[in-house]
C-alpha cells in the first residue's frame, strides 16, 4: 500500500478516517460520530450480538461493530429505517427480560435505558415474556439480578480475558440462553469473583450490583439523566 492518502469511508455523507483493522463502529466513535450500540465495549473485541449498531454498508445491513472499515464504503446510520430497526431491537430486549426502570438501582446509569431514550422507545410493544430468573444474593459483596441481563457477554469476556477467572459463561440456547457462574452449586459465592474484578464494572445494565451501597447518587442526577448517551459515548472516546 503505497497510497499516502488516509483511508476513509462515508458515514451519512461525512468522511470518516480509519486505521487498518478498525471496524466501522470503532472508526465512527473515534471520529466523534455516535452509532447506537449496547454490547460493544472499547476494551474488548467486538462480537456483534446485540445488533443495535446495525448500519447499511453499500446498501446491505450489517453490524457496524464487527464489520471492518473499508476505503470508500458508503455507510448509512442516521436514517429513519435504521432507527426503526434499532427501536425494535430495544423493544425485543425489554420484552425478553424483566426491566422495571422506576425501581432499578441502575436507572440513569443504564445503557439499555439510555439507548432507549436516545431512539425514542416509549413502550415494549410486544407481549412481555416475564421469564422466571431468581436472584443470586449468595455472595457477601455482590448481588446478581439476572432479570436485567441482555446477554451482551461483556462480563464473560472481562472475567476470562482480564481477570483470568472465568466466573461467567452462557448456557442454554435460543430464548433459554442465560448467564451461569463457574460453580457446581450454581451460586456466585462459590466462585472467586471479587469486587475489584474487571467483570464488576462492564455490565451495561444492572445485573452485577455491589451490595451495601444503594442509590448513592440520587435518580435524576445520574450519568444519562444529565446528558443523552449520544453525547457521552462520543466524549468518552475523545478522552481515550
Amino acid at each position: 500500500m503505497s497510497d499516502d492518502a488516509r483511508k476513509t469511508f462515508a458515514l451519512d455523507g461525512q468522511e470518516v478516517p480509519f486505521e487498518p483493522g478498525q471496524t466501522i463502529l470503532q472508526a465512527a466513535l473515534a471520529a466523534g460520530h455516535y452509532v447506537p450500540h449496547l454490547c460493544f465495549h472499547p476494551e474488548f473485541r467486538p462480537h456483534g450480538s446485540c445488533r443495535v449498531c446495525t448500519v447499511k454498508v453499500n446498501g446491505r445491513t450489517t453490524a457496524s461493530c464487527t464489520t471492518p472499515a473499508r476505503d470508500d464504503d458508503v455507510v448509512e446510520s442516521h436514517t429513519e429505517e435504521l432507527a426503526e430497526l434499532r427501536r425494535s431491537l430495544i423493544q425485543f430486549l425489554f420484552t425478553e427480560g424483566n426491566h422495571f426502570c422506576p425501581s432499578c438501582e441502575q436507572s440513569g446509569n443504564c445503557t439499555l435505558q439510555a439507548v432507549g431514550y436516545e431512539l425514542g422507545v416509549t413502550t415494549g410493544h410486544y407481549n412481555p415474556l416475564f421469564p422466571n430468573r431468581p436472584l443470586d444474593a449468595s455472595h457477601p459483596d455482590v448481588l446478581l439480578d439476572f432479570n436485567r441481563c441482555i446477554l451482551c457477554e461483556l462480563c464473560v469476556h472481562a472475567s476470562a480475558e482480564v481477570d483470568k477467572k472465568h466466573v461467567f459463561a452462557l448456557s442454554g440456547r435460543g430464548i433459554t440462553k442465560h448467564l451461569v457462574v463457574n460453580a457446581e452449586s450454581g451460586r456466585l459465592c462459590d466462585t472467586p469473583l471479587a469486587v475489584y474484578d474487571k467483570a464488576m464494572s462492564v455490565c451495561p445494565v444492572g445485573v452485577i450490583q455491589r451490595k451495601g451501597r444503594g442509590f448513592a447518587v440520587p435518580i435524576g442526577t445520574r450519568t444519562y439523566d444529565r446528558a443523552p448517551i449520544s453525547g457521552i459515548a462520543v466524549a468518552r472516546r475523545e478522552e481515550v
Binding site: 456483534g48 446485540c50 445488533r51 466466573v167 459463561a169 440462553k177
Partner: protein, 598 residues
Amino acid sequence: MSSIVARHRHDGTRLVQILRDVVAAEGYVAPRVITALAEALALPRAHVEGVAGFYSFFATEPRGRFRVLFSGNVTDEMAGSRELCRRLLDSFHLELGEVSRDGLVSVGTTSCTGLCDQGPALLVNGRAIARLTPQRIGAISSLIRGGSPVDEWPKNLLRIHSHVEKRGILLSDQLAPGEALSAAVRRGREATLAELVRSNLRGRGGAGFSTGAKWSACAAAPGEERYVVCNADEGEPGTFKDRELLGGHANLVVDGLCVAAYAVGAQKGFVYLRGEYEFLVAPLEEQLAARRESGLLGRNVLGVDGFDFDIELHVGAGAYVCGEESALIESLEGKRGIPRNRPPYPVTHGYLGKPTVVNNVETLAAAAWIVVHGADAFRAVGTAKSAGTKLLSVSGDVDRPGTYEYPFGVSVERVLADAGARNTQAVQVGGPSGTLLAPHEFQRRIALEDVPSAGAFMVFDRSRDMLAVADNFARFFAHESCGFCTPCRVGTTLNAQLMARILAGKGSRGDFEDLARISKLMKAASHCGLGATAGNPVLDALAKYRPAFDRRLKSLDVLPPFDLDEALAPAREATARDDAGAHFDEEDERVIPGGGYE
C-alpha cells in the same frame, strides 16, 4: 467417566463427543459430571456447562433410562405423530417432557429427524425408528417395559429404508473406493483445482458458492496445516438426501472428501454427521477402516509421497444451527455451536484457526464425479448457471416419497407429477428457510437462478391447513435459534407465540403486522442465515395463504394478549365466587377501535 475421557485422549476439542458418550452411559449430564469433566479436560466448569446446555440431546436434568423423542417435523405431524405420541404417553401414564416415576422412560419431541419419506419417526436413546403405526408404538412400549437395550431390539423395527425414486449421474454411478482419488492424483493438484473451477460446481448446502473457488482459496491460504470437512449435519426439516447418499453411496462422498484433501493439501478430514443419523455411524466407520486397510487413508495415500490423510467421524447432538459452516467448526472444536463473525472465513481461518474447506455431502459426491468424468460432462447437465444435478427429498402428500435426482432446471410441476402429487396446494422448497410456492408458481424451476434449494421438497395438498404448517415452522426456528443475536433469539420466540395465538383463534390484525415486522427485522439484522431466513415461512404464508389466517381472526384490530376471564380466576378463588358476575362477559367487551392497548 474417566474411561470416557481417556478414550477421547483428554482432548477438550472432543467435548461434544465426550458428552454424547456420557449421555449414552448415564442418560443425562449431571452437575457432578460437569465438574469432573472440567477438571479432567482442564476447562472452566462454566464452559463445559455452557456446551452441555447448548445441544438438545444433552439433558442436564435426569431423563428416563429410555429417552423417546418424536420427530416434530410438519410431515411427521401430518402422518399422525401427535396421536402416536399421545398413545405412547398414555401407555406409561405420562405427560410430554415428564420422566416416569420409576425412572424408566421419558418422552419428548425433537426437530425433524430426516425420515420424512418414512414418517412418522422417533428416536429412542438416539436410535431412529421409522414408519410408526399404533402397532409399532405398542411394540416399543412393550420393549421399553422389557428393559433390554435398544441395540437388542428387533432388527425389523430399527431398519431404515432406502427410497431412491429417480437416479441421475450421481445416484447411478458405481465408482469403486478410491477411483475418484486416483483420477485426481493422475491429474495432479493444480489440474484438479482447475477442473473443479471449470466445472462450475456450486455448493449444494443452499448458498451456492463456487466449490472450485473455495478449494483454491484454501489451497492458497498461508500455513502448513489444513482441514477438510464434510458437512453431514443435514438438519433442514424435510431434507434426507444426504442420508441416502451416505447410506448407499458413501464411497462417492468419502472419495470427494479425499479429493478435496489432496487438492488443498489437508492432512485431516472430518465427517460431521448429525446425531439423528446415528444408524449411519457403524457403516461409515467400517468404510473408513476398509480404506485404511487398502491404503486409501493413512500415510502416503495411494503411494503419493507426503500425502498423509485420515478422516474422523464427529457426531452432532441436536443443533440445526451447526449446519452453518462456522458453527459446525465451533462444534468440532468442542464448543457451543455459535456462528462466527466473518471475515475471516473458514478457508483461511477455520478449524483451530487453520485453513479449512467445509462442503456439503452432495457437493463432495459431485466433486468426486467431476474428477472422474470431467468438467465438460458435468456442465452438459443442468442449466447455464447451475451445472449438474440436484437431489431432492420429496415428502408430504405424494404417492412416492423419496430421493429424486434431477438435472438443475427441473420444474416444480414435473417433480410433483413424478412423485404422484394430487390437489397440491403448496410446496415448501428448501425447507422452512426456503420458499413456499403456491400453484401459480409450479412452473418455476429448481436452480440457483430461479428457486434455489438445499434439497427439501415438502408437498401439501388442499386438505392441509397452511396456517398450521407455518406454525410448525415458526416453532422449529424458535427451538433452533442459537440465541446469540437479539433479533433471532427474541424474534423467533415472539413469532412462535403469535402464530400459536392466531391458531387458537385469539389473534387480531395487529398480530399480522407484528409477525411481518418481526420477520423483516430478523431478515435485516440477524447474525447468520438461520435468523435471516427464520421469518420466511411466516412471510410467505401471510402473502400467499392469507385466507387461512383471516379465518382464525377475531374482527378486532387489537386484542389484549391475555384472556380476561382467565385473569379473574385468582380473584374468584380468593372470594370463593363462581357466579356470572365473577366472570368476564365477552358481550361487554369494549375495545377502542384502532387499538387502546399498549
